[in-house]
Structure formats: C-alpha cells, structure tokens
C-alpha cells in the first residue's frame, strides 16, 4: 500500500532543467509579513512539497505565483521567462495550473463548461463543445480522472470536483501543477487515487508543487520538501534524506510543547442528543437518527473529513438549526423551542467555524461584539436601554483576560488579526463558564502561539468541569486534546474510543466510512 503512494520517480535529478524559479518573493499585508524573501527552484518532473503550519504563508505564496496577488518584492520566472505579476492569465499561458483549496467551479454549469471556460476565444460565436468533449475524454482516460463531461457540477462529489479542477489545468496544457491542500477534503481512498494520478503526471514530465501541512503525505509524494514558517523559508530537504521528526521540528521552530494533559475527572452526562434528525438543507449532509452524549469534565473530539455532517451537527448544537425529530436533553431536561438564544440560555458556549462570517460582526466595535450573545441580560440592559459602560468594562475584561491585542474596545473588530479575533470569540463564549462548549475548528488558520492559547483555554474549561465537543479536521489536534474520540462519516458517528485506544490508521479507516458504524455514542 505504502509503495503505491510513492510518486517520486527519480526523473528530477539535479540536471533536469528548471521550470520555475522564485526569487526573493516578499509580500506584506499591513504589518504582517506573509512571505519574507522566499526563493526556490522547481525542476522538470519534480514534486516539491511546500510544508508549513496554517498561516505560514503557503497559500499566499501560491496566490502570488498564480497572479491573484502581486508581490511587494521579488520575481517569478517560468520556463526561463519572467512572469508578469498580478495576471492569472499570464500564469495560465505560461503553463501553470492551480488546484485551489476551495474549488473554483460554477455549480450551475456542467463539467465541460467549467473546463472550457476561458479556453476559447471570447469573440467566437459558438462554443466548440465537440472538441472540448474529445479532449476531456482523452485526458480523463490518460490520467484516470473519470468524470462525466455533461454532469452538472452541483451533483458531483467532492472527489469528483477535485478531478474536474485537475482536468481544468491539464486541459490548458499545464506543465506545472500547484495543489493547495488537496487532501483536506478527501477520504484516504480518494487520497490514494489522487496520488496515483500525480504519479502518472510526473511520469509525463509535469512538475508539481504540493502544499500541505500533513507530514505523512509530504513524505509519501515529494522529492523535495520546502518548509515555511511564519512567512520565511525555514529549510529545504531532499525527502529521501529527511524524516518526519526533522520536518516537524522545522515546521514548528522550537518544539512547542503540547500542553500537559491531566487525566479527566469525568462527571455526569450534561448534554445529550437523542435520535436526532435534521431536515435536508442544500447539499449539506443531514443527520439521521443521531445520538450523542457529552459528559462534564471531558473533551470529546469529533474527527472526520469535512462535509460528513459536522456542519449540521454544529448548527444543531449552536441553535441555528432545529431538529426535525428527536430530542435535545440538557442537564436532564428536554429542551423545548430550540434557537441560538435557547442554546445560550441552556449554558452552551459556542465557537463557530467561520469567525469572520458567523463569529463576528465586522463593522461593529469590539465592545458591541463581545456583548452580542448577552446584550439582553440585566447585566447589559435595562428597560430596553443598553448600559454601554458595563459593556465597555466587559470588553476590557475580555481583552485583558484573553490577551487580545487591539487598539481599543471601540475599534472595529474587522481590523483585528485572526488570532486576536478568535481570542475575543473564545472569551465571549467561555467567560460565563458554560457547562457545555462547542468548539468547531477552533484553531483553523491561527499561528502556533494562538493555537496553543486556544488549546490551553479549552483544557482549563474541561478541568473546571465543562463538557466540550471539539470538531476538527486536524487529526493531530483531536489526538492531542480529546479524552474520547468519535469519527463522523456520512452523517453517522463511530463508537467512541478512549485516548490512545485507536491508531491513526484505524481512525482513518473510520473517516473513510469503513468499519463499524453506530448511531449511539
């Protein structure tokens, strides 16, 4: 199995011609240096892995390469010619194809239309579908990228959509393929298929940049590894001569000790979903007869590939979605009318997945944001009037206690960095010492320091007796924090396992939907 994952074919020797050269790329966003003087060379038939934590600057670098952003300094050269900055068209014409982390597909159009988009002269009075279809069918067959050209994208699975993205690049004769976190949304089996395709591509002389923060994948597919840390190139290694430990150390800098986890003092069940189903909403996976119990003083980690019902479960617990059938039991009594307000009133602290769109109101101040879940309580309002003094004091308290860096409580929250915004949301959710905490992807996109901060606070909350549900795509985060692990797949939960009980491999099987599945956990 492992052997089939190996893509590197030894084509890329030092003699192989350089196809892409980055020289001194620097990009700043305000005070933040996203990329700091990054230089490297990609050779023909080579797979480079770009490894780094979330927020290390990988995606920014690739966006510069592809012309979405313009670098403040530095140059890019493709096939010996300088690449004009800020022009995706030039990148495409130079033979660079990019598979974005979030797919760039129009869902109302067919596979063929998505692929043909922008490939024929805009002044042509007729789209040549027959030619496009022939070419797509040939590419599909050559590289094992099966997908029906006339299927509407909305009906495709995530794996199929990724194939369409790769076909888009190949259709345009891409010689350099950039894949941004391509496995984040794939099951292990789909990942294997992707790796086989990559192997075929390299054999044809394509060069690949593979962006990831997963060490095992990087070791499996690449010839060379570039490690990015905080916007700087922290190291470059030939895959054959390095190992996971070394790469991990490069990635994180000095080892950030994962917080010491004491044994949980598990209490009674404080939150329970009993045989809950949700109505279908768009394309999100619905829950069907799901049961789940959370105990006081315990972190329950929910692993799984995204899109398997996690968002429905999170919406349900947050109160933004109502159960179509089944019961929500909190502290022993069945909850009645379910809404965000009811969730809050029942002592559920919520950290949403998307802090910009859901967790904060961008153009309102820090003060206005911290009171948003509790403005109607006597602490902050009387007779319909808000007590701005109390609100401001509360904001200052959160800013102090949660180490939020912001100009003042009056500053618009939009202006805060991701980490500081998340600390504020954490403070808002945890300050009232809720009995139940839902943490949905609480550290996505944060720097290492902020991640450690969030982890510490969640563990503290556990130790004071909170029941915590941690939903994360990051298996290492789940393994580090959870006292009990559940795996979600196709809207169903696996049986629970204690800390250290199941191996990563076993969890992976469950994530792929293999193995036993139970509705009760």
């Amino acid at each position: 199995m492992e052997a089939s994952l190996l893509v590197r074919g030894g084509v890329a020797e030092e003699r192989a011609p350089a196809v892409l050269r980055l020289d001194g790329i620097t990009k700043r966003f305000g005070p933040l240096v996203a990329n700091n003087a990054i230089s490297f060379t990609l050779r023909r038939g080579e797979v480079i892995a770009l490894l780094g934590e979330n927020g290390a600057g990988k995606t920014t670098l690739m966006n510069i390469l592809f012309g979405h952003y313009v670098a403040d300094e530095g140059t890019v050269e493709a096939f010996g010619k300088p690449l004009p900055p800020g022009d995706p068209r030039a990148a495409l014409d130079a033979g660079i194809g990019m598979v974005h982390q979030h797919f760039t597909l129009a869902e109302n159009m067919t596979v063929l239309e998505n692929i043909a988009l922008g490939t024929q002269s805009p002044w042509k009075l007729r789209l040549d579908r027959a030619a496009a279809r022939r070419r797509i069918e040939k590419l599909s067959a050559d590289f094992g990228l099966t997908v029906h050209p006339d299927a509407t994208v909305a009906t495709l699975s995530v794996g199929e959509r990724q194939r369409v993205e790769i076909l888009k690049a190949l259709y345009r004769d891409a010689r350099i393929l950039i894949l941004d976190e391509p496995t984040a949304v794939l099951t292990p089996a789909e990942t294997d298929a992707l790796f086989r395709t990559l192997k075929l591509l390299v054999a044809q002389g394509l060069s690949i940049i593979f962006i990831s923060h997963k060490l095992n994948e990087v070791m499996a597919v690449s010839d060379r590894v570039l490690v990015l840390r905080a916007g700087t190139l922290a190291g470059e290694r030939a895959t054959a001569t390095t190992n996971r430990t070394e790469l991990a150390a490069l990635m994180v800098g000095q080892e950030v000790a994962s917080p010491p986890v004491s044994a949980p003092k598990t209490g009674p069940v404080v939150f329970e979903l009993k045989n809950v189903s949700t109505a279908r909403q768009g394309t999100t996976t619905r829950l069907d007869g799901l049961s789940l119990a959370l105990r006081a003083g315990e972190i329950t980690g929910l692993a799984g590939v995204s899109g398997n019902g996690q968002s429905a479960l999170a919406s349900l617990i947050s109160g933004t979605m109502q159960p179509a059938s089944g019961e929500i039991v909190i502290g022993g009594s069945v909850a009645g009318n379910w809404s965000p307000r009811a969730a809050l009133a029942n002592g559920i602290g919520r950290i949403p997945e998307d802090r910009h769109a859901v967790g904060s109101i961008g153009d309102m101040s820090v003060t206005e944001n911290v009171i948003s879940e509790r403005y109607a309580t006597p602490r902050f309002s009387r007779h319909g009037f808000l007590d701005w003094k109390a609100a401001r004091n509360f904001a200052e308290e959160i800013i102090r206690d949660y180490d939020v860096k912001c100009p003042s409580p009056e500053a618009r929250i939009r202006l805060l960095s991701g980490g500081n915004m998340q600390k504020l949301i954490l403070g808002r959710a945890l300050d009232s010492e809720p009995a139940v905490i839902l943490a949905n992807q609480p550290t996505r996109g944060l720097d290492v320091g902020a991640v450690a901060f969030v982890h510490r606070r969640l563990l503290e909350a556990r130790d004071r007796g909170a029941a915590i549900l941690l939903i994360s795509e990051d298996l290492e985060e789940i393994l580090a924090l959870s006292d009990r692990i559940l795996v979600m797949s196709k809207g169903q939960l696996s049986s629970p396992s204690k800390r250290g009980e199941r191996s990563i491999r076993e969890l992976g099987e469950l994530m792929a939907g293999h193995g036993e599945v139970t509705n009760a956990a």
Binding site: G118, P122, K124
Partner: protein, 314 residues
C-alpha cells in the same frame, strides 16, 4: 361575461399584447444579463427613461429611426458604465447605486428635455416605426396577425431573446457571464477578469434597457412624456425573477404579463365604470408582486448575485 371572453380570441387583442410586451422584453433581457453576471441593476427605470428620450430626441432632431435606436442604446450603455463602475470595482451597494442611477438618469433626462424644449407644453411628435407585416405569415389568423404585423422594433425584441439565449448558453463569453454570477472565482481562476465580464454585462444589459425605453417613444407612441416609463423597469425586475433567470421563460412571462395588461384595458372599456379605472391600472403592479411571491420559494438565484467580488478572494 361572454364579451369578456371573446376578447381573448380577437387578433387586435393579441397584437396589442405583443406590442405591450416588446419594451418589457428588451428591458427584461437587459436586466437578465446583468443579474446573470451577478449585478442587480436597479438603474433600469432611469435607464429606460434615458433611452425613451434619447431615441425620440435623435429622430426629432432629424436623425433616422435606427440611428435613434443606436443613440438610445449608447446612452443606456453609458449609464450602465456609471452603475458598473460604482458597483463592480468599487463594490458599492447595488441597491443604493441602482436607485441613485435611476434618480440621476431620470432627472438628467428631464433637465435635458427642458433645456432643449424650453417653452413646449405639448411634446412634439415624430414619425415612429410603422407596422411591417411579414408577407404570408401575417395572414395566419390571430396568431400570425399578432406576431407578424408588428413594427420592426418588435421583431428586434424577439430576435434579441434568441441572441441573448444563444449568447448565454452557446458561446464562450456566455459561459463567463454565467460563471461570474455563480462563482466569480471560477472565472478568475481561468484567467478571465471578473470585473471586465461584469462591467461588460451591465453595459450591454443597460443598452437593451434603453432600447426598451426607446420602443415606447419610437414605436408604441410617437413622443416623449414625463414619467412615461411608469414603473415598467421595476416590473421587468420581477419578470426576471419570474422567468428564473432564463431568457425563454422570461419572454413567456413578459408576454403573459402584457396579455393581462392588454386584457385589463379592454375589460376597463366594457366594465362601464362600475369598477374604478384605478383598480385596473393597479393590476400590472399587483400582478408583479404576486408573481414574485409565487416563484420566491423555488427561485434559484445566481449565487453571487449582489455580492461584490475582489480579486484573489475565495
């Protein structure tokens, strides 16, 4: 009662319905293109006013009719450019800008009219487009008469629907327009400028709206009155929703709507004043609201409609 039904089988009724539908068809196609690219164009009412004036005034000043149509289209495109500049690269609220463009276009038209014709009390008339019966076809009873004894501008309206449909579904540029309204990042990832596509769509769409306005002064009537658009632009916005953003369905909607309108005018004549005439005049507007309610539940909006796009954003 019998009388009320008989109307439906007269050729003159259907001729009128198609005539009433024509300006709506142009403007609805214009709005549809804008919205398919992701931009709600509430400038429509004002842009139709501009078109009505520009076309008429060109002819009044000695230009020929087709030059008038071209001038109207060009004037519409210019206001489209204004709308698009503010809403696409600057990403301003499409609601506020649209209303602003309508107010500006309308008031500029009235200003220009007063400037050009300072002392006029009754608006001067022009020689409008004349019906051009298509030999043979226009002899088919009812249907043929209705469809093929119209003015050239009406024929152009029907041709426009076919061209818009072909453009959206059969050409490379149509792909880009539809993708820009659904997921602009798909357009940018393929090396096409979202800004360019959206601005182009709004300009072309606005040109069609203006031709719709020009139809009123150059084909349906023969002179320009204040407030002659009378909410037709807003009705077209409802028609786009009613037509599920598809040219064919929108065409049917426009004809259906015009038939109702033509019908109420005739009912009004035979009702003998029992029902106040205002009730009949309200019907088109009420009907539009009703149409919106009927389709709202299952309307599938272009997903990026009204959402500004910035380069590199996903």
């Amino acid at each position: 009662m019998e009388q009320a039904l008989e109307i439906l089988f007269t050729a003159s009724f259907w001729v009128a319905a198609i005539r009433i539908a024509s300006p709506l068809i142009f403007a609805t196609m214009g709005e549809l293109i804008c919205e398919r690219a992701g931009v709600l164009n509430l400038g429509i009412e004002g842009i139709m006013t501009v078109g009505a004036f520009a076309g008429w005034f060109t002819v009044y000043s000695g230009g020929d009719l087709w030059t008038g149509v071209a001038v109207a289209a060009l004037a519409g495109a210019m206001f489209g450019l204004l709308h698009a500049t503010l809403t696409v690269p600057l990403g301003l609220s499409q609601h506020v800008v649209g209303i602003g463009v309508t107010l500006l276009a309308t008031s500029l038209t009235y200003f220009t009219y007063r400037l050009a014709l300072p002392q006029v009390t009754t608006p001067p008339k022009i020689e409008p487009f004349q019906p051009l019966p298509i030999p043979g076809l226009s002899k088919i009873p009812v249907l043929g008469e209705a469809l093929f004894s119209q003015t050239p501008l009406t024929y152009l309206a029907f041709v426009t629907v076919a061209v818009v449909a072909w453009m959206l579904y059969r050409t490379p540029i149509g792909l880009a327009v539809r993708a820009a309204g659904e997921n602009p990042s798909a357009v940018e990832a393929q090396g096409i400028s979202v800004t360019g596509i959206r601005m182009g769509a709004v300009m072309v769409g606005s040109a069609l709206m203006a031709v719709g306005g020009a139809f009123l002064t150059m084909s349906a009537f023969n002179s320009f009155f204040f407030e002659m658009i009378n909410g037709r632009g807003w009705i077209c916005i409802a028609l786009v929703v009613f037509g599920s953003w598809r040219p064919g369905k929108a065409l049917l909607g426009a004809i259906l709507f015009a038939a109702f309108d033509a019908y109420q005018i005739r009912l009004q004549q035979i009702s003998g004043g029992v029902v106040p005439y205002q009730v009949f005049l309200m019907m088109p507007y009420a009907l539009s609201i009703l149409a919106l309610i009927l389709v709202a539940r299952r309307a599938t909006y272009p997903k990026a409609l009204m959402i500004p796009y910035q380069k590199g954003e996903r």
